[in-house]
């Protein structure tokens, strides 16, 4: 199943908020400097958000490792071949339906 672009965008933003908060907390824990923590957080937020979005769209094109429904490729109302049509016509005829 494909994802719409809006889903990828919302995922990008939600993850970025979470990840940036984590980065800012870690920087603050190591340096004790609130300004530096916020600065690194903001730069990281914008740059990585853009990278993440393209990374996500790229992975959507790769089917490797995805769970696939066994009948995902079955086209139910595909055009019947002339042979299929003849078989159906004959069976319907044999039962008086044609």
């Amino acid at each position: 199943m494909e994802d719409y672009k809006i889903r990828s965008i919302v995922k990008t933003v939600s993850w970025r908020v979470l990840a940036t908060l984590a980065t800012m907390l870690i920087v603050f824990a190591f340096t004790g400097e609130a300004k530096l923590s916020i600065g690194i957080g903001l730069v990281e937020a914008f740059s990585k958000m853009i990278l993440y979005y393209f990374h996500e769209r790229l992975w959507l094109r790769i089917s490797w490792g995805k769970l696939k429904h066994p009948l995902a490729d079955l086209v139910l109302n595909k055009e019947l071949s002339p042979e299929d049509k003849e078989i159906i016509r004959q069976r319907l005829k044999d039962l008086g339906y044609m």
Partner: protein, 450 residues
């Protein structure tokens, strides 16, 4: 979640009147015993028209053809007059087992809108051999398609079960052409197919399910070729016919007993047929009648409906779906919207006056599309649908020499004599219709069946 279980047995083409008579004659002791335990046998109306693809689809979806999109085994492509053969992919409403599984497969219907919000947990179903479910599609449970299925590999969901069924020598349908050339061999095949059907039912019965639908189609095949033997004790095949019904009765009794021993008296047990059957006297070529009335013009060359020529006002598809040759729908169509009413009145008069060589009327009732269909797919509906008097098999053949013809078949469908068996406490305000049963089943599963 309260455990509710339902077993539905479908017996294709089994008429109410014959079952009633066979029960009274003692040919169906198991069914009699079930009736004695508080069940009631109803005479039921089938779909319009009364052919298996339409009737079973109406049963499974609980909506009429203008909502599920299936009007017959064949469909005329309005672009080039070629024949199309609809399959499960053309069913445009979800089935009750898709609704129970909480996965309508992207389809919508009035029934789905009513019932989907009432279920919180998905229920699983096992559905075996119901016609017009090919190709099998993803659903919660197991789906083994019935007639017309071309390839076992696409008739089974999940596909992993194909090898198991092949090992069992499971057959989707007997070869009906054998009924024309080797009647004894055909009968043997029917008996044998019933054995394999039982084996498959037993195998899947052991699984986990909430709803089990087991359909037997050999009855319909038997009737097409041997229905004249049903009540004629002097008929060469009468004993075989009765023996087949005894075997069917034994299978019904077996399934009922297994169901009761596993789930006690609580589960819902139902038997239905998709249409009735009656003896065939004459075939009636409706298109020939339209030709003689000047409403259908045919070219000499071409095949079937591609022979239609300018000047054609109406034509019929099997069994008697009469369509107006509308200007805005068909390349050669000439009927303007405003002329439809007068042509319809002509058609009603022509069909209503149709009599056989002995002066017996042929048509029992006629319906205009607005009277019987409602839904988004009205464009494909016949403008006039005719039902015959029992015995007259209406046909949509093109280019025949005469209206009336003898038939190689012994039996034909009828709409008014399908059968239904339900617990005695289930009631209908009038004669039940096959389209009501999906709602009844869904009511049962959401606990609103009181």
């Amino acid at each position: 979640m309260e455990e509710r279980k339902a077993l539905v047995i479908g017996i294709d083409g089994v008429p109410f009147t014959l079952v009633k008579e066979y029960v009274e004659k003692g040919y169906m002791p198991n069914l009699k015993s079930i009736l004695d335990q508080g069940f009631r046998l109803w005479q039921m109306d089938a779909s319009l028209p009364d052919i298996s693809s339409v009737s079973w689809t109406t049963f499974l979806t609980g909506v009429n053809p203008a909502e599920h999109g299936i009007y017959g085994f064949i469909h005329l492509d309005p672009r080039d007059y070629s024949l199309r053969f609809p399959n499960s992919g053309n069913v445009l409403a979800p089935t009750f087992f898709q609704i129970l599984g909480l996965d309508p497969g992207g389809k919508d219907s009035s029934l789905a809108r009513k019932y989907l919000p009432r279920f919180k947990e998905p229920r699983s179903s096992i559905v075996i051999n119901v016609p017009h479910t090919y190709p099998a599609y993803p659903m919660k449970g197991v789906l083994i398609s019935g007639f017309v299925a071309l390839d076992m590999a696409r008739a089974v969901y999940p596909p992993v079960l194909v090898s198991t069924l092949k090992r069992m020598n499971y057959v989707i349908d007997v070869d009906p052409s054998k009924g024309h050339r080797d009647r004894d061999g055909f009968l043997e095949d029917l008996f044998q197919a019933l054995d394999t059907r039982k084996e498959a039912f037993d195998l899947f019965f052991q699984g986990k399910w909430d709803l089990f639908v087991a359909c037997i189609t050999e009855t319909d095949r038997l009737h097409h070729f041997f229905f004249d033997a049903a009540l004629d004790q002097d008929h060469a095949y009468h004993n075989d016919f009765v023996d087949f019904y005894r075997k069917l009765d034994s299978l019904i009794g077996h399934l009922y007993d297994v169901f009761r021993s596993r789930w006690g008296d609580e589960g819902l047990f139902m038997i239905l047929s998709d249409h009735g059957f009656t003896r065939l006297k004459r075939e009636v070529n409706v298109n020939r009648a339209l030709e003689e009335a000047g409403l259908l013009k045919l070219r000499k060359d071409g095949e079937r409906y591609q022979r239609m020529a300018p000047g054609t006002k109406a034509f019929a598809l099997d069994p008697c779906r009469i369509h107006l040759h509308m200007k805005d729908r068909y390349p050669l169509g000439e009927v303007e919207e405003g002329d439809g009413e007068s042509i319809l009145r002509d058609l009603e008069s022509i069909m209503g006056d149709l009599k056989d060589e002995e002066g017996n009327p042929v048509i029992r009732s006629m319906y205009r599309r607005d009277e019987i269909y409602q839904g988004p797919f009205m464009d494909d509906a016949p403008h006039l649908l005719c039902l015959p008097v029992d015995g007259y098999d209406l046909k949509g053949r093109v280019g025949t020499d005469s209206i009336f013809a003898s038939s190689v078949f012994a039996g034909m469908h009828n709409q008014h004599d399908a059968m239904l068996l339900l617990p005695g406490n289930k009631d209908f305000s009038g004669k039940p219709h096959i389209g009501q049963l999906a709602g009844l089943l869904l009511d049962y599963f959401c606990g609103e069946d009181h």
